[in-house]
C-alpha cells in the first residue's frame, strides 16, 4: 500500500471514515455493543459489493496507472434527522459496511461525536497505527539490498 501524501490534510470525517473502513467487523460489533442503544435509522442504499479501480504511481511519484480492480462494499444509511452516513470498505462484508455507515452518520451528530471519538475512533486508530508499524518493521527486517559488481570486461 502506498503512503498517501495528503494524510496530513485529511478532514476529520475522512479520518474517521478511513478508520472505520480499516476496522474489522468484530471491532465494529464490539464498539456498537459498548455504546448501548443505537439511534433508529433507514437503509438508503443497501450494502452492495462491487469493484473499484485502484490507481498507483510508479515509485509513488511517476505517472498514474491502473494497478487492477479491488472488491469493495458500500452502504448508505439515513438517521432519523436526515443525516446521511456513508461507508466504503475493501472486501465483501455487508454487515460491516452497514455498521460503518451507521457510525459515520452518528459521528456527524454533535450529541454522539465526542463519545464515539473517545471510545471507538481513537482506540481503533491507535490499534491500526501500531499494527501498521509492526508490519512495516517485519517487512524492513527482510529487506535485501541488491547491488551489481561492475564486470571487468576489459
Amino acid at each position: 500500500m502506498t503512503v498517501n501524501p495528503h494524510t496530513e490534510s485529511k478532514t476529520p470525517r475522512q479520518h474517521w471514515m478511513s478508520v472505520l473502513a480499516r476496522a474489522s467487523l468484530k471491532d465494529l460489533e464490539q464498539a456498537i455493543a459498548s455504546l448501548g442503544p443505537m439511534p433508529a435509522y433507514d437503509v438508503m442504499k443497501p450494502a452492495e459489493t462491487g469493484t473499484i479501480m485502484l490507481e498507483g504511481r510508479a515509485g509513488g511519484a511517476g505517472r498514474r496507472f491502473n494497478i487492477g480492480e479491488a472488491t469493495m462494499t458500500r452502504c448508505v444509511v439515513r438517521l432519523k434527522d436526515g443525516t446521511m452516513g456513508f461507508s466504503y470498505a475493501l472486501g465483501r462484508d455487508k454487515r460491516k459496511a452497514q455498521l460503518a455507515a451507521l457510525l459515520d452518520g452518528m459521528l456527524q451528530l454533535p450529541t454522539h461525536a465526542a463519545i464515539l471519538h473517545n471510545s471507538v475512533i481513537g482506540p481503533l486508530a491507535e490499534q491500526q497505527a501500531s499494527k501498521k508499524i509492526d508490519v512495516s518493521r517485519k517487512a524492513a527486517a527482510t529487506k535485501v539490498d541488491f547491488f551489481t559488481l561492475v564486470r571487468g570486461d576489459g
Partner: protein, 204 residues
C-alpha cells in the same frame, strides 16, 4: 451539519424491485394507451414528483444516461435525489438527454428538441416522462398502432395545445422519434413513437 432536505430511501431490494418496474414500463410501451399502476411502496421519491416518474428514473437511469429536467425540478430536491440514487448526469440541453421529464402544459421544450436517434441507431433516442395533472377524464384521444388490437381510448388532462400535432410529426419520423411515458401520481401510460394519436375534439 446542515441537511437541506431529507433524502428519500432507494429500493430496499434493488435487483427485483427495479426489474419489476422495468417490466411494467415494458408493458406500458407494448400496450400503448393502457393505464397501469406502478408499485411505489419499494422506495421514497422526491417530494412533489409523481411517484411513477420517480420509479421510472430509479429503474432506468444510470451514470450513462443524461437526464434533462425542467427548471423547477433542477432547482428542487429532485436533482439531488436523482444524482444520489442513479448517478445520472443532469443534461443542460434537451438534445443531449436520453431521459427527460417534461410538464404536459409547458410549451417548452418542444418534442422536436429531444434526440430522435439516427438512421443507423434509432435506439439512441430520448424517452420522455410527461407529467400530467391526471390521466383520466381529459380530452379523449383515439390511439391506434402496434400493440393495440382495434383502438384504445385514453383521456389525459392538461396537455398543451399543439402537443398531439408534435407527436403526430414524431410518429411520421419512424423509425426515429421519441417515446412518451405519461404519468400522474402512481399511474403511467406508454405512447411509443409507433402509436398514432388522434384527439377527439368536441367529444368532451
Amino acid at each position: 451539519m446542515n441537511v437541506p432536505f431529507v433524502m428519500g430511501r432507494g429500493f430496499s431490494d434493488p435487483i427485483f424491485q427495479s426489474q419489476a418496474i422495468f417490466r411494467l414500463i415494458l408493458q406500458a410501451l407494448s400496450t400503448p394507451g393502457v393505464l397501469l399502476r406502478v408499485d411505489t411502496s419499494s422506495f421514497e421519491g422526491p417530494q412533489g414528483l409523481s411517484s411513477a416518474a420517480a420509479a421510472t428514473l430509479l429503474a432506468l437511469a444510470d451514470y450513462e444516461t443524461p437526464v434533462w429536467l425542467p427548471d423547477h425540478l433542477v432547482k428542487g430536491p429532485m436533482r439531488d435525489w436523482l444524482v444520489f440514487h442513479t448517478g445520472a448526469p443532469i443534461s443542460e440541453r434537451p438534445e443531449h438527454a436520453l431521459f427527460a421529464i417534461i410538464d404536459a402544459a409547458s410549451p417548452d421544450p418542444a418534442l422536436a428538441r429531444f434526440a430522435t436517434g439516427e438512421d443507423r441507431y434509432p435506439d439512441r433516442s430520448a424517452t420522455l416522462i410527461v407529467l400530467c395533472p391526471s390521466l383520466e377524464n381529459g380530452t379523449p384521444l383515439m390511439v391506434t398502432g402496434p400493440g393495440i388490437e382495434s383502438l384504445v381510448n385514453f383521456a389525459p388532462q392538461g396537455i398543451r395545445n399543439g402537443f398531439w400535432d408534435e407527436f403526430a410529426a414524431n410518429h411520421e419520423r419512424f423509425p426515429l422519434g421519441v417515446d412518451l411515458l405519461l404519468v400522474s401520481d402512481d399511474k403511467i401510460v406508454g405512447l411509443p413513437r409507433t402509436s398514432k394519436v388522434t384527439p377527439l375534439d368536441g367529444a368532451a
